[in-house]
């Protein structure tokens, strides 16, 4: 190791700084995770998972169900849209066409817009202009626009990584373009697309700013698309604003962390699937 480090003082300083800062990153992460787990796990009481929310039990059960509803609804809209967009960009347009540049830069720009601006936009367009009110549908539509760039980017890369020989083979056997895309290219790109979807789920679960003015904050399981609901992250935001619910906020944070851990594990598995496929 000493050999690696070098002997000049500058080398030694840089070497130590590298180890030190890397340790700092790890310490920051461990500190956050352990702090939340240690303070949160003891407060994961059954009353936090009761079917109905009351100001007494501040149950997170409705929020968990609502989160799932938001995820399903948003993915149902964003995934087909994103996949079709990528199919168009990769399979149908000639390289260097202006259309591609336009769509791609639009998607890139969408990716950079802060979630609070999405919140404003969703409020102005879906809540007020379309008159949906604070609702499941207005929130999901806002999230759809927000995660669309994620789905497009990852699917595009997945489609591009499918070798051209597959397509040519398909055409040579007399398949039409549509058949080649859906029967040959898309199935080979599934792991890459899945990676994008998992990433998108992570963003939906963690989102708060885009939802409070589009979906509202009512702690209920929505019965209709036009009813308000809060996701787990929004639930936690509401709890952390109240000083006497700190323990419950910790407990909610534990559940959120578990979901993130689950999502990360899933994406690691998918990544392994992709590399396995390449070999």
């Amino acid at each position: 190791m000493l050999n690696k480090m070098g002997k000049k003082p500058v080398d030694i300083i840089l070497f130590c700084l590298t180890w030190g800062f890397a340790a700092l990153t790890l310490i920051a992460l461990l500190f956050i995770i352990l702090h939340v787990l240690i303070n949160g796990i003891p407060h994961l009481t059954p009353s936090l998972f009761e079917r109905r929310f009351t100001t007494e039990n501040v149950s997170m059960f409705p929020a968990i169900i609502s989160t799932i509803m938001f995820v399903v609804l948003t993915l149902a809209m964003a995934v087909p849209l994103g996949i079709f967009t990528s199919i168009y960009l990769v399979e149908y347009v000639k390289k260097g066409s202006k259309m591609v540049t336009l769509i791609r830069s639009a998607a890139e720009m969408l990716a950079g817009i802060p979630s609070v601006v999405y919140g404003l936009f969703g409020m102005l367009l879906f809540v007020e202009f379309f008159g949906f009110g604070w609702s499941l549908i207005a929130g999901s539509l806002t999230l759809t626009v927000m995660i669309l760039p994620v789905v497009i980017r990852t699917t595009e890369e997945a489609l591009k990584s499918v070798s051209g020989g597959y397509r040519e083979g398909g055409f040579a056997l007399g398949a039409g373009k549509l058949r080649v895309v859906f029967r040959i290219v898309l199935p080979s790109a599934v792991p890459g697309i899945l990676a994008g979807v998992i990433l998108a789920i992570g963003r939906i679960v963690g989102e708060t700013a885009a939802l409070i003015f589009t979906a509202g904050t009512i702690p209920q399981v929505p019965q209709e698309l036009t009813q308000s609901a809060r996701t787990l992250a929004v639930h936690m935001w509401n709890l952390s604003g109240e000083a006497h619910h700190t323990n419950e906020a910790y407990a909610t944070a534990v559940i959120l962390l578990l979901i993130v851990l689950l999502i990360n594990t899933a994406s690691a598995l998918v990544a392994r699937l992709i590399t396995a496929k390449k070999d």
Binding site: A22, T25, L81, F121, T208
Partner: protein
């Protein structure tokens, strides 16, 4: 005849599919247009009424006064302070960690450090904010008691530290891939000339990856400017010109989230106009990012 029918049928199906794909592809463009149209249509009249100059350089945000004053300079300065602070804290740590991951890290360590960085990226901003509120804010309160004799701890400094942590994964992941993209011959060449491992990495590979590393900094910057919930929870949010990093301040994002719930009339439109200013900030950052990455490609 039959052949002919089949042919037209197949072509029309293909055409229909292509049209569908094209239609879906234009959704992003339309969405972006709608975002601009709706924000500008609702925000520009307010800017007109307040006056662009008064709005951007007004030092007072007093919505309940008669007449009210809508100056967002304190929020612009607040956003700039906290973003710059976050970059100052997060970028050195991030770049060194990226170098560690790419060149110094034993393999067994990489297998759990890399997922750790990804975990850091996945933690929702409310959880960060909550952590900041419970841990960082009291810590800064103690420090500021020592240095300035008071203060609640909900301050610019708290937000800087928290944002610094939050931008770490972006800086680390993008820098790491930039470092790994440098051809191995650079490193080998430096070694062959007698440089040590450390020296080769820092004085040959790192300079070669500088545009990618710089891109990671810009992305981190964008993340810090746009962050909302975490900042609201630790920054104190007083709409006044920031005086010291131990005092509270408000960002553009916080201004929108805090007051949108109850704002009406001009106040409400002034908040949407705040969103426009934020959007323009992000656009500028995007342009810089595009210029930087395009240079890299050349």
């Amino acid at each position: 005849m039959r052949m002919h029918n089949n042919k037209t049928k197949r072509y029309s199906k293909e055409d229909f599919a292509e049209m569908t794909f094209l239609l879906c592809a234009t959704v992003s463009v339309f969405a972006l247009l709608l975002i601009f149209i709706f924000l500008f249509a609702n925000g520009l009249p307010a800017i007109g009424e307040i006056g662009l100059w008064n709005f951007l350089t007004g030092r007072y945000w007093r919505t309940a006064d008669i007449p009210p004053s809508f100056g967002i300079l304190p929020m612009i300065v607040g956003s700039v302070y906290m973003t710059v602070g976050a970059v100052l804290i997060g970028v050195p740590v991030g770049i060194f960690t990226a170098i560690f991951l790419a060149f110094m890290c034993p393999k067994w360590m990489y297998t759990f450090l890399k997922p750790a960085v990804n975990l850091l990226a996945g933690i929702p901003s409310v959880v960060y904010g909550f952590f900041g509120m419970i841990v960082i804010v009291p810590f800064i309160r103690t420090i500021s008691l020592h240095f300035t004799g008071g203060g609640s701890g909900a301050s610019i400094l708290s937000a800087m530290i928290l944002l610094g942590i939050m931008i770490l994964p972006v800086v680390i992941n993008i820098s790491e891939s930039a470092l790994r993209a440098v051809p191995d011959s650079y490193y080998q060449g430096a070694l062959a000339l007698g440089a040590s491992h450390t020296r080769s990495v820092f004085f040959v590979v790192l300079p070669a990856a500088k545009s990618g590393v710089f891109a990671s900094v810009i992305l981190g910057l964008g993340r810090a400017v746009g962050e909302t919930m975490a900042v609201v929870m630790v920054a104190g949010n007083q709409p006044r010109m920031p005086e010291s990093i131990f005092r509270g301040a408000r960002t553009l994002t916080a201004n929108i989230v805090i007051e949108m719930g109850y704002a009406t009339d001009l106040h409400r439109y002034a908040l949407i106009a705040t969103g426009i200013v934020l959007l323009i900030f992000i656009l500028i950052i995007n342009v810089i990012f595009t210029v930087v990455t395009r240079k890299k490609e050349q």
